[in-house]
């Protein structure tokens, strides 16, 4: 598609206006992320300096002997570019060969893990050692202030990795349960023409409209007293759900499920019912038709909905901060605990570093799945 269709070609002034509006928007949207990234790699004196250039170049960080040479900048820049390419190009293409036992989800998970592992080993161990040796050999001086000390103290000193694992536990739980219930319910509701289906959808919408805090306060007494409530069923080792990730997963799924069902239903509606019928005439049961014919066409929908579920679980503050105790805290509410009465500037920069750490995986995720999110796999299913 080299040339745009003539009727869709835009006049110069329109292109200029939209380009400038887009760049302005990009600036406004991307600036905070750029800024906290800059802050997080400087010593506190630089991070909170009055001059913006000092925040970017970090003279005091440089003076403390921490900085990047021109070679470092080049090396890390290329590394990031390569990582981005691997995530966007290589991974989606490698998925079919990575799918163990023909399960595509496994393929994506393995591919994603490979990319993360590669970036981690390359960026934290191999590249610094390599570039350090090269810099020493060439005698290059640092140009720009840079220190990873805050990240180190956040992830190792403050046990942020524990919070990361908790986050993953909650997020994966929410995503898996939401998608499992959502695909089954969404498919059924999309293919059923009955009135009950319509009212179920309206009911789901009403639940979605409830404020989240209402749901949490509704669940809270049940979770606190769950040991007593469950004792008749589970016996003496009935758990107290309050403070457990399971409780958070339950509430987040309750919040998220109506949305997932609606979204997946609309994806299923886009798949012609003829496909189900052809499959059933060809010899499938209802479930086989769903599994072998409809699901393979549904991947863009599953991935898009899964991403939204993931974001909900990953970014949640209200539910996690209310329902989890300190040992099970996820990343987002954990940042709040960085601040207290005696907060120092170091604490603040560490909080900023933690915030950047939370953002990075989201970038990776969107980069990996961007093609699937927009792709139209159903093209050619029916006449076209």
């Amino acid at each position: 598609m080299a040339a745009t269709i003539r009727a869709l070609r835009q006049p110069l002034w329109l292109r200029l206006t939209s380009a400038s509006a887009l760049s302005l928007w990009l600036l406004v949207a991307a600036f905070p992320i750029f800024w906290i990234t800059m802050m997080s790699v400087k010593v506190p004196l630089d991070a909170f300096a009055d001059g913006p250039l000092e925040v970017i170049f970090g003279p005091r960080t440089l003076a403390a002997g921490k900085g990047l040479t021109i070679l470092d900048l080049l090396g890390y820049g290329l590394f990031l570019l390569a990582a981005g390419r691997a995530a966007m190009r290589w991974l989606p293409r490698a998925v079919p060969s990575l799918s163990l036992f023909g399960v595509r989800v496994l393929g994506w998970l393995i591919g994603l893990m490979a990319v993360v592992l590669g970036v981690w080993i390359g960026g934290v161990f191999v590249l610094p050692a390599l570039l350090g040796a090269l810099n020493g050999a060439l005698g290059l001086d640092p140009l720009i202030g840079f220190t990873a000390e805050h990240y180190r103290s956040v992830w190792i000193g403050r046990d942020f990795w524990q919070n990361f694992l908790n986050s993953m536990q909650v997020t994966l739980g929410v995503t898996v349960i939401s998608l499992t219930c959502g695909t089954l319910a969404g498919y059924a509701l999309a293919r059923s023409g009955s009135n009950i289906a319509f009212w179920l959808l309206i009911l789901a919408l009403i639940f979605r409209a409830l404020p989240h805090s209402v749901l949490v306060t509704g669940y809270l007494p049940v979770f606190i007293n769950s040991a007593e409530i469950l004792r008749p069923i589970l016996g003496d080792n009935a758990p107290t759900l309050y403070g457990q990730p399971l409780a958070v997963i339950a509430v987040l799924v309750a919040i998220n499920q109506p949305f997932t069902i609606w979204m997946l239903r609309s994806f299923f509606l886009n798949i012609p019912a003829d496909l189900d019928e052809a499959a059933r005439v060809d010899g499938c049961t209802h479930f086989q038709a769903f599994r072998w014919v409809i699901m393979p066409v549904m991947w863009p929908g599953i991935i898009t909905t899964g991403l939204f579920s993931f974001l909900l679980g990953y970014n949640d503050f209200l539910v996690t901060s209310l329902l989890l105790d300190q040992s099970n805290m996820t990343m987002v509410p954990a940042i709040a605990s960085f601040f207290n009465r005696e907060t120092t500037t170091t604490d603040q920069v560490q909080a900023v570093a933690a915030a950047v750490s939370i953002t990075a995986p989201l970038f990776l995720l969107v980069m990996v799945f961007q093609r699937q999110i927009v792709s139209g796999l159903t093209q050619g299913a029916v006449k076209g």
Partner: protein, 348 residues
């Protein structure tokens, strides 16, 4: 291979009746066409046979076995959909193979059978493509191959040609006819196109508003339509129908007078086909020309007579100006008489 028996099959949605007490027995290896305008219940009838729609009442028997309560997969049928309904994530090869795979046909047979089916519909070059990379006609042939690969007892085809352009429709029609001859499988074919029905069918079922209007061979349907609906639905152009009166064996209407008919006195609808009448020096109809159309192999002359437009086929070099007077000869033998009120054929 099996015959199909439909006994009083009905489909109702609430108060709406889609198919009303449909009874028909379809012979083994017969090519049966369900024909009618949209909304006449022909597709619903087929979907009930396929098991995609549940019959409200009546029995559906395939090969001596009542199948009302069986799933589509257990009815030993194959179906071709109007929209093709190919699996977009699979290649052509996998699409054709799918019925074998899902029914656990021994894997050793798959390749040979897929290739045989693909050869029959001339698809062998496209086996590695995906449906989105094929043209409409090729997609339609994949759908056909997917249906024939398993050699089912019954083929069901739901307007398989209606998404193709006119030229392709003719060649694919010929292909379907040839396939059905070769495979010798009972086939039910749904269409609203009367030419498809005439060319393909062993027998045609004409339907209207859920009711069977006439069942017969294409010749019977064309030559002895059971009522005015069938008469006006079959044939191109449709049969000329004029309302008038018979007195003493003479049919009379505006500008029309046809004697020698064996019909009781009273109101009657008279019909004849355009090719059965001719422009003549003196005839039973005398009226000014309404329009003249050149068809290439003939000239169609239309006049306004008997309260309707009446078309007559004239030789291809016949020319006449609009509004000029013309006489049309209608042989008595070519006349069909219908009850004006009910539309039913009056048997002579």
């Amino acid at each position: 291979m099996a015959g199909i028996e439909l006994r009083n099959v009905s489909k109702r949605w609430g108060r709406f009746t889609g198919v009303d007490r449909f009874s028909l027995s379809i012979r083994e290896q017969e090519f049966l066409v369900l024909l009618g305008p949209s909304g006449c219940g022909k597709t619903t009838t087929m979907r009930m046979i396929a098991g995609l729609e549940e019959a409200t009442e009546g029995d559906i028997v395939i090969g001596g076995r009542r199948v009302n309560d069986l799933d589509p997969k257990d009815r030993d049928i194959a179906m071709v959909f109007q929209s093709y309904a190919l699996y977009p994530n699979m290649t052509v090869y996998e699409n054709i193979r799918f019925p074998l795979k899902i029914r656990k046909v021994p894997a050793a047979e798959h390749d040979a059978r897929v290739r045989r089916a693909a050869t029959m519909v001339e698809l062998t070059e496209f086996l590695d493509r995906r449906p989105s990379e094929l043209s409409g006609g090729q997609r339609q042939r994949v759908a056909l191959a997917r249906a024939i690969v398993r050699q089912p007892a019954v083929f069901l085809m739901d307007e398989p040609l209606s998404n193709l352009d006119a030229k392709l429709r003719v060649s694919t029609r010929a292909q379907i006819k040839n396939l059905s001859h070769e495979l010798k499988v009972t086939t039910i074919y749904v269409t609203h196109d009367q030419i498809e029905a005439m060319t393909l069918a062993d027998r045609v079922v004409v339907m209207k508003r859920g009711l069977i209007q006439q069942v017969g061979t294409p010749t019977e349907i064309y030559d002895r339509p059971a009522n005015t609906f069938v008469a006006s639905f079959i044939g191109n152009p449709a049969m000329n129908l004029m309302e008038g009166h018979v007195t003493g064996g003479v049919f009379a209407a505006d500008k029309v007078r046809i004697p020698g008919l064996a019909a009781p006195d009273g109101p009657v609808t008279l019909g004849f086909r355009a090719e059965d009448a001719a422009v003549a020096p003196s005839g039973q109809i005398a009226a000014p020309v309404y329009t003249m159309e050149l068809l290439g192999d003939a000239t169609m002359v239309t006049v306004r007579a008997g309260g309707a437009l009446v078309a007559v086929k004239a030789p291809k070099d016949f020319r006449i100006a609009i509004d000029e007077r013309v006489e049309i000869a209608v042989p008595q033998a070519a006349c069909h008489l219908f009850n004006t009120k009910t539309g039913e054929r009056l048997e002579a």
